[in-house]
Each structure stands twice: as structure tokens, then as C-alpha cells.
Amino acid sequence: MDSTIHAPVAAADDDQLRAVELAVEAVLFAAAEPVAPRDLKAACEDLGEIDQALLEQALGRLEERYRDRAIELVRSAGGYRFRVRSRFSATVQAAQPERPARLSRALLETLAIIAYRQPVTRAEIEAVRGVAVSSGIMRTLQEREWVRVVGHKEVPGRPALYATTRGFLDDLGLKRLEELPPLDQIRDLADVASDAGLSLAPPEAEEDTGPGTNQRLDFDVADAEPEPDSRSGSAHS
């Protein structure tokens, strides 16, 4: 229907698009972890000029291609990966019945505090939980590569500052920390002051009591650079 002039060009584009699509497919299946878009582009460098639009087109085609299949293309903090669709989880579990151990409440609470309060010291975590945090838990979180040390607080003893990693988000299928379920709001005393027969001024954030009542989710891990300490420069030496 269009002029024949455009046909060969379209065909060439189509070949290139298909080549990119297959290259990306190969890379994603070969990788154990999510692959960043720039690494996907690097894989296609022999296929001509690959711009963002072309890459996205190829990813779109892949997504389409697997629409009715047992796996899906997903994007999380670290990049793209193929994942078994959740409706086949039971099938996979039947074939791999050895389930990973459940995470203890102590570990989950510690992880939650790090996730929502990062960067945070161990003493600050302990202050929130009201009990000591065992070394085993901190090591396990780091071995699992969900948590890492991003710097040291410039107070006596220079305690380590912990933050969550990109792998933590990847394991939960999240792109950014903001996608975590929001923290419950802490209710104000004023709400119930009358019930309790008290007349109290509404509490305001106390700057010096350390971790306040406000949530802090100002990290964009997706854009974070690979250097572990990129955000903590000011906290360093």
C-alpha cells in the first residue's frame, strides 16, 4: 500500500529489530541476574546503531512474544530479566520441593528498619526494636546481598551505616524503594487527647532524637551508580 521506496528500508529495520530482539533474548536467558539496559545495548553493538527507542521496541516485541507463555519479561531495579509467571509457581515448587527457610521475625524487622530508614546504624536499629540485633542477622543480610555498608557515621566509634541493595529490590521485583508498601502513619497524640482526658500539644518531629516519625524514602536505587559508596560521600572521612 505504501510506496515501494519505503519497503526495503522497513525490511532492513525489521531485520535489525529482529536481530536485536534475539540478542537481548540470548543475554537475558544467559544472565543469572537482571541485566541493565546499557549492558543490553552493549550486547547489540555489532548490529548497528542501537538507540533507546530501538531497544525498547525489541523489548516490547519480546514481551509480546512471551505473552501467552509460562515466563514473562519483567523490569526491576537492576534491569530486565525473564521470570516464571506466578501462576506457574506451584508447578515449579512441585518440581523443587525444598523451600528456602523462612526468614525469622528478627531478621525481617531488621531488614524493614534498614529499608525504610537507610542509611542507618546498628544502634539505631536496636533503638527501634528495643533489643540487640545479633551479628548473625547482620551477616546474613549482607551475605544475601540485601544489605551493605554504605559508609560510617561520623560519631565516636564511626559505626557502619547500612542500606539496602539493588539485589534486595530485584528479589522483590521492585524498581525503586518507593514501591515498597508505605509505612503506617504514626497517629498524633492530638487525635485522642480528648479521649484520654489530656491536653497535649501535637508532637512535632524532634530533630535530635534521631530516627523521627517521618518516613524517608528518598533513594532512587534504579539510578544509583555501581559504586557502593556513591551516596555516602559526605559521611565519609
Binding site: 525473564f82 515449579v92 528495643g130 521485583g173 515498597l180 509505612l183 504514626i186 485522642v192 484520654a196 497535649l200
Partner: protein, 289 residues
């Protein structure tokens, strides 16, 4: 908490748990029944340890006491909650459960708040939140509850390798520069880290055994067939001598213990034979030998 009860007292006059005529459990501390035990505190004695384990600390226990009675954290009745908290602590101490120090610190804090609440409040401080001695504790409880809930939600998110699974393919067919080989010190460093971590966890014991047995277990398992029996003697190599026989024998015993092999003997005194437990790896015709 009973201010007169110290650790030595506990040791000398152990607490007792009795079952009353009506089947109710009576806790006695220093010979005196724990009078303040609330009626709704009843916990089967054998469940107490589990019960204590299920709390992540004093804040968690306090939160439980408050939530159980549908009370508002902001209007926490200190006297009542303190009484209940102390009762729990007494029972735990009475049963000589190992109690983390944080529980006792909290007990002291509650007692202090209770006493401060009895003092008349200076008028000018009334508008100040510091006027309420409960304030710091309330903040702490709210904050802890916030993260306790967040932890539950975090755990409920679909997680890789538990709820969802990555899709990957083998890269065996690919060519490329050879992968880096593991160096001995890298390997040992990694192992040392695992052992150090494992030693921080309960239940993990490290005991001694010859590594040669482990290696032999793998090679025997690999050489056995799930359908055919193999003579035990055929697993031995003359060149290995007496020690080789011992190693092979220990390996077979370990494999048996792990339920990985089964023994057979067609008749008494006939050769001992063994095979791998379970059916063939493959359904059509088995694996090539």
C-alpha cells in the same frame, strides 16, 4: 517486679509450678503464690518457653498486652499494663527462663513511669508533652509497631526463589575465554566465612570426619546403578590397600545412613551387593553407562 527478688534468691528458692485441684496452674515464686497473676494470663507451662520465644523483645510483649485488650497505645493505662508486664516477667523468672536484659530494663522503666504519673504535674508544663511521662514510651511503641507491620508486609511480597522464579537457560554451548578458576585461598576464605556465620547460629555443630570418606561417597553413588545391584567388592581397588577398604566401607555406611543406597544379599553368606535407591534417572531405557 518484686524488688526483693534477686538472682541468688531465685537459685536458692526455686519457683514451683503446681496444678491446683481445679486443674488451674499455680505459679509460686519464693514459696508465695504469684498473687498478681491476671486471670487471662494462663499459659500452659510447657508453652511458656515457646511463648517467650515468640516475642521479639519487651516492646513486642508490651504491644501484645496492649493490643490484646484493644487498648490504644496513645492512652496506654500504665498501671494496668505494668501490672500485667510484671506478672509475665515474674512467671518467666519463676520458670527460670533465660530472660534477655532488655526485659528487665523495660520493667524498671515501667515502674519509673508509674511512679512519675503519681506525682503532681507542674501547671506550666501541662501543655508540654514532656508533662506526660508515658510519652517517650508511647513513641517507642508506635515506632516499633510501625516497623513490625512493615516487616510483615515485606515478608508477604512475592520473593525471588520462594514465590517467583527466575527463568534462565544453560550457557554451556557458548564459547568464550575460560572462566577464572577458584583459588585455594579464595575458597578457604569463603568457607571460613560460612563457618563463622554458622557458628553464630544455634543447631549447627561441626564435627570431625575424614574428607576422603565424603569424596568416596560421591564416587560410589555415581558408580552405582538404581536397578542393578553392584558387588561391594567391585567398589574396592586393590591398589588402595587396607585403608581404601575402610574408606569405602565408611562411605557405604554413611550413604546407607543418609538413605541413599540399599543393600541386598541373595542368600546368607553370598556376596553383599548394593544399589542406588530409587528408580532410574531416565524413563526410557535409562542413562547410558
Amino acid at each position: 517486679m518484686d524488688p526483693h527478688a534477686d538472682a541468688n534468691d531465685d537459685l536458692e528458692r526455686p519457683a514451683t509450678v503446681e496444678t491446683g485441684a481445679d486443674g488451674e496452674v499455680l505459679y509460686r515464686v519464693h514459696g508465695e503464690p504469684v498473687a498478681e497473676l491476671p486471670a487471662d494470663l494462663y499459659i500452659p507451662p510447657d508453652a511458656l518457653e515457646v511463648f517467650l520465644d515468640s516475642f521479639e523483645g519487651p516492646l513486642d510483649l508490651l504491644l501484645y498486652l496492649i493490643r490484646r485488650q484493644n487498648l490504644d497505645i496513645l492512652a496506654i493505662p500504665i498501671a494496668e499494663i505494668t501490672r500485667q508486664y510484671m506478672a509475665y516477667i515474674e512467671v518467666m523468672r519463676a520458670l527460670r527462663l533465660e530472660l534477655a536484659g532488655e526485659y528487665l530494663v523495660m520493667a524498671a522503666l515501667l515502674a519509673e513511669i508509674k511512679s512519675r504519673m503519681l506525682l503532681p504535674r507542674p501547671k506550666e508544663a501541662e501543655a508540654d508533652e514532656d508533662a506526660d511521662p508515658r510519652m517517650a514510651l508511647i513513641r517507642q511503641l508506635q515506632e516499633y509497631e510501625q516497623f513490625k507491620t512493615a516487616a510483615e508486609r515485606l515478608d508477604a511480597l512475592p520473593r525471588m526463589d520462594r514465590d517467583v522464579f527466575a527463568a534462565g537457560a544453560s550457557v554451556e554451548a557458548l564459547e568464550g575465554p575460560p572462566p577464572p578458576a577458584p583459588s585455594m585461598d579464595e575458597l578457604m576464605e569463603a568457607l571460613a566465612a560460612v563457618m563463622h556465620r554458622a557458628s553464630l547460629m544455634a543447631h549447627h555443630h561441626v564435627s570431625t570426619e575424614q574428607l576422603s570418606v565424603r569424596e568416596r561417597m560421591s564416587s560410589i553413588l555415581d558408580s552405582l546403578h538404581p536397578e542393578r545391584f553392584t558387588d561391594f567388592v567391585a567398589l574396592l581397588l586393590a591398589a588402595e590397600g587396607r585403608q581404601g577398604v575402610v574408606v569405602s566401607f565408611l562411605a557405604v555406611l554413611e550413604l546407607t545412613k543418609a538413605g541413599l543406597v540399599e543393600w541386598g544379599q541373595s542368600e546368607p553368606y553370598s556376596p553383599i551387593r548394593l544399589r542406588r535407591r530409587g528408580a532410574a534417572v531416565d524413563d526410557e531405557g535409562g542413562v547410558p553407562a
